[in-house]
């Protein structure tokens, strides 16, 4: 019995997660159920491995068609909430989740508002009336806790210049510099879904970690969820790569008293202390414009929108001409006001 559905104990309709109250709610009778109080069916049922490869909707009996990564969806025949339980157990069980704080209607509104703010996007696009689909998706992330032991040897120079008589003296003091640093990073998010564009996901940050809840399958009701495509070991290099700039800037800040520093040795020993499998809320917007589909992502908590919109060449030209023209006129005006209007 790998499929979990959420039926209202009152009326039997499907219940979904409500982003405003943070509870399971029934659209038919208005019943709300607290998620933290209700037992997670995943913890009650035990799935034997490889029990099912085909899923049947518990409401209508139709075969639920999903991709292999999908963990939560809706039945394409009757629209019931479907959570694929066996894809969320064992190693695949998420540890924590940040639920949606923005409802579908709010997401559409926020996306429209964002479109109107685009200075270079075409007018037709600004109208934002071609939203093809908007999907609330729980994207699998690994949140890494990384401890770094850093040892740095460097040659530092402090330069002082002063004038005496007709000469300018440049005095350079040379130092042998050594630093041993402990640098810990917590909850560095790396998107573990193959489908999602890494760059897009990086720009969605930051997610409010104070909203982290321990995972309960009920949060997925009404949304699409995915399981990770890569485990934490596979993605650890990407996490290291992400923090390497941060580490460099920290090291630089410890030798800021020098005019110039050249590093002769930089030993960074990174240790992955923890990697928490976390589902983060993302609204994915598919937008049709001139037969091309554009995909945007919105942070399900903060409402931040990312994604490349189409750029109107006409608007680029207009802005360029406008800004250049105004700059030129003001330069000329100032020249004229100074009385030097030659040329």
């Amino acid at each position: 019995m790998p499929i979990i559905d959420y039926k209202c104990p009152n009326c039997g309709s499907g219940m979904v997660f409500d982003s405003e109250t943070g509870m399971l709610s029934c659209h038919s009778c208005g019943r709300n159920e607290d998620i933290q109080d209700s037992p997670d069916p995943l913890k009650v049922h035990v799935f034997s491995e490889g029990e099912a490869t085909e899923y049947h909707c518990k409401s209508c009996g139709a075969v639920v068609m999903t991709e292999s990564e999908t963990t939560a969806t809706t039945c394409s025949f009757c629209g019931s909430v479907v959570v694929l339980g066996d894809r969320l157990t064992g190693e695949l069980a998420p540890l924590q989740v940040i639920p949606f704080a923005i409802s579908k209607e709010e997401a559409v509104q926020a996306f429209r508002k964002w479109c109107r703010k685009g200075l270079l996007v075409p007018n037709e696009f600004m109208a934002a009336d071609r939203i093809k689909g908007i999907t609330g998706m729980y994207v699998p992330f690994w949140l890494y806790d990384i401890h770094n032991a850093i040892e740095v040897h460097a040659h530092g120079k402090r330069v002082r210049t002063y004038e005496q008589g007709d000469y300018r003296y440049t005095e350079t003091r040379h130092y042998d510099v050594y630093r041993r640093i402990r640098l810990n990073y917590v909850n560095v998010p790396i998107d573990a879904s193959e489908k999602m564009n890494d760059q897009l996901m990086d720009r969605l940050e930051p997610f409010p970690y104070d909203q982290l809840k321990s995972f309960n399958t009920a949060y997925l009701a009404g949304y699409v969820a995915e399981k990770y495509s890569y485990d934490y070991k596979e993605l650890f290099p990407r996490a290291q790569d992400k923090i390497s700039d941060y580490i460099d800037s920290y090291i630089s800040s410890t030798v800021s008293q020098y005019t110039s520093v050249s590093f002769s040795e930089k030993n960074i020993h990174a240790k992955c202390r923890d990697a928490k499998y976390t589902l983060l809320p993302v609204w994915v917007v598919h937008y049709d414009y001139k037969n091309l589909e554009y995909t945007f992502a919105m942070n399900g908590q903060t409402g931040k929108v990312v994604g490349k919109p189409p750029i109107s060449k006409l608007k680029v030209l207009a802005w360029f001409a406008g800004i250049s023209g105004v700059s030129f006129l003001s330069l000329k005006l100032v020249t004229w006001m100074m009385g030097g209007g030659l040329g």
Binding site: K117, G118, L119, L120, V121, G156, Y167, R168, Y169, T170, E171, T172, R173, H174, Y175, D176, V177, Y178, R179, R180, I181, R182, L183, N184, Y185, N187, V188, D202, R203, L204, E205, P206, I243, D245, Y246, Y250, T254, K304, V305, G307, K308, P309, V316, W319, F320, G322, I323, S324, V326, S327, F328, S330, L331, K332, V334, T335, G339, G340, L342, G343
Partner: protein
Amino acid sequence: MKRNRVVLSVLIFFAVWLCFSIGMKTSVAEEAGLKPLIYDEAGLLNQDEIDELNELANQMGALRETDIIIWTSDNPENIDVELMTEDFYDEQAPGYDKPHGNAVILTLDMNNREVYLAGFYKAETYLDNDRLDEIRSQITPDLANGDYKLAFQTYIETASAYLEVLPEVKPDITYNSNNSYNNDYSPPVQSPTHAADQYVTSRPEVNREPDNLFLNTWFQLAVSLIIGVISVAVMAYRSGGRVTVNSRTYEEAHTSGILDSRDDYLHTTVTKQKIERNTNNSSGGGSSSGGGMTSGGHSHSSRGSF
């Protein structure tokens, strides 16, 4: 739309500020009225003559954007006329466009009866040694005769005429087989005023670009276009959303830190470099004139006795 206006006003403000900060120096020199350009400390001229020459020098100087200066001195301390001129330039800081700017100075040392001509900045380019020699040879007979006013007038007009045309435009004055001037812009001594006027109208504007780069139209256009390109590029880049996390976002501050650090002093190296004083910097104030160059860096001059 509100944001657009903010961006625009910031850009305009920046452009205005840029121009003002650069323009301040030049506006100082552009006071209304006549500048004193005739320093007759030896008392060779009467007041009417001084006024007349001063007006002429101001008028011609304005056309050429150059201060045309005359300084006569009894030189009681018996200083070399070349040094006198350099000190004068350093101390008085003359210049049409700015202090220590475009200027040509005629110094008359009545103690040793020597005359010295030197150009600075624009005048240094336009009045090379040959041209200064030419001016000097034209006025020397009048100086020797004590006809100072005529000599000075010739100097002002001839210098002004030369300042109209770059030496590179046409080669230096050449003589034809009849041994007379064969150059349409070499200033005729007989009717200098007329000659100067003629050059104003007949010469193209090629060399009349203002000295201040920031007043140049092409430069301003280039700056405007660059501002436009940068603004639009930033707008396009930011249209897809920005990364808003920084190095502190995921750092666990209370467990991170420097565990050990050493800064061992090794040695000190000192290099020294001679300071090239440059009067371009009007706030310099320091005066150091040595060798054959003043702080203005001029090298063209002409000296002789009369």
